[in-house]
Subunit: 212 residues, 2 copies
DNA sequence: GCGTTTACTGAGTGACAAGTCACTTACTTA
DNA sequence: TAAGTAAGTGACTTGTCACTCAGTAAACGC
């Protein structure tokens, strides 16, 4: 008879939490925000629903914890690729845009964006995600400083990063159903060119043309 | 005793459909995609749930019809403002970006974007919205041609429009909770400047810098 | 007017959701 | 090793969901 290995309580907690968080992200990716139920997450994690509620008091807490866990992991994945980027400014800028684009094409991030949209009218979820956002934004800006160090000292560096990220974000969710793949590719190429220019240009022009 | 006015069947159908569609959009705006239930929509419209299902066979059909109804209405609202825009190219480009931004800040459009995200994992909804998208995109491009007629003949005009719309879309949903209003305003100003440049520049540079 | 068709009502129905709870099993500590 | 605590179980409660249907009222065609 096979005896189960003896584990400390801390180990049991850690593994169960990990399985629940992974199951939550997987369910979010596959089923969408509306398809994530505590029943489904518990089933995927291979634990009972009661166990889920022992570790997370509400469904919102579970979702927030999943996002809180997901963001740093994705950023670490992106950071690992920094040494492989070209050093030439223009080539590097293009590569940075490509990197950002690829991150936004990952289903994990699509799922996270979906959660953020759902938080628009879900106060609990919004509060939970709000706690995640500030450190995440700081990590994004820190990573951006590694990616384009020659711009990191610019006065409006944070704003520049936000513009680039927002644009890619908008484009990534753009067309759901890509009626015309050629048009989509052309659009992506155009945006890549525009954003690359933005990165290799001095940040000074960004302070011009304030809203009238 | 007040007799109810006599209405034709077509009129009855039209008014009930209209009330249901308006109620759907209102619920979508106020409660979000997850908060839209057939019960709630029927309650807001002042009809029974049975009446709802007489006019729309499924909830997905109702949502799709609501979006199909919403998009042209919003575009007509935007078109009505065309005559008020400045004629000078640079001022007009800036005004166009502002117009677009204001449209994306309207809760109706935010709600529609939320629906599109939800459609990522909802095949029925995706199919329903897919039928809406093509004519909508055509209407958007037609309106864009009115807004910036001097660019309308450009070979990649459609791609240019998509880039601008996507960027504003991404920025509009950017931060949910705007920790720093000054940073948000600066980001918007930067994006406005960038996109305005994009509109007043000749479209030729957009064909440069294709992805490596 | 009068039978037929169309619009609408409102009380269902079964499925499934989040969260609870009495109880069992696994670890810890003295 | 025995008492105490933390982790986990699975059936259960309460509520809401999308959708149905038998019956009623309004408009239509003749």
């Amino acid at each position: 008879m096979v005896l189960p290995p003896r584990r400390t309580q801390a180990e049991r907690t850690a593994t169960t939490r990990r399985r629940l968080l992974d199951a939550t992200v997987a369910a979010l990716v596959e089923l969408g925000a509306s398809g994530v139920t505590t029943t489904e997450v518990a089933r995927r994690a291979g634990v009972s629903q009661g166990a889920l509620f022992r570790h997370f008091p509400t469904k919102g807490a579970l979702l927030a914890a999943a996002v809180e866990d997901l963001f740093p992991r994705m950023l670490e994945g992106a950071r690992a690729r920094v040494p492989t980027l070209p050093v030439d400014a223009e080539a590097r800028a293009g590569a940075v845009i490509d990197l950002l684009w690829e991150e936004y094409e990952r289903p994990e991030l699509q799922a996270a964006v979906e959660l953020y949209m759902a938080a628009r009218t879900d106060r609990d979820l919004a509060a939970a995600l709000g706690r995640v956002e500030h450190p995440h934004r700081q990590r994004v800006h820190a990573l951006a400083a590694e990616l384009v160090p020659e711009l990191a000292g610019a006065t409006n560096f944070a704003g520049l990063v936000d513009v680039v990220v927002d644009a890619v974000q908008g484009a990534s969710m753009g067309r759901l159903h890509v009626l015309d793949p050629d048009a989509a590719a052309a659009g992506r190429a155009a945006m890549r060119a525009t954003l690359t220019q933005l990165l290799i240009a001095t940040p000074v022009p960004l302070t011009l043309g304030a809203p009238s």
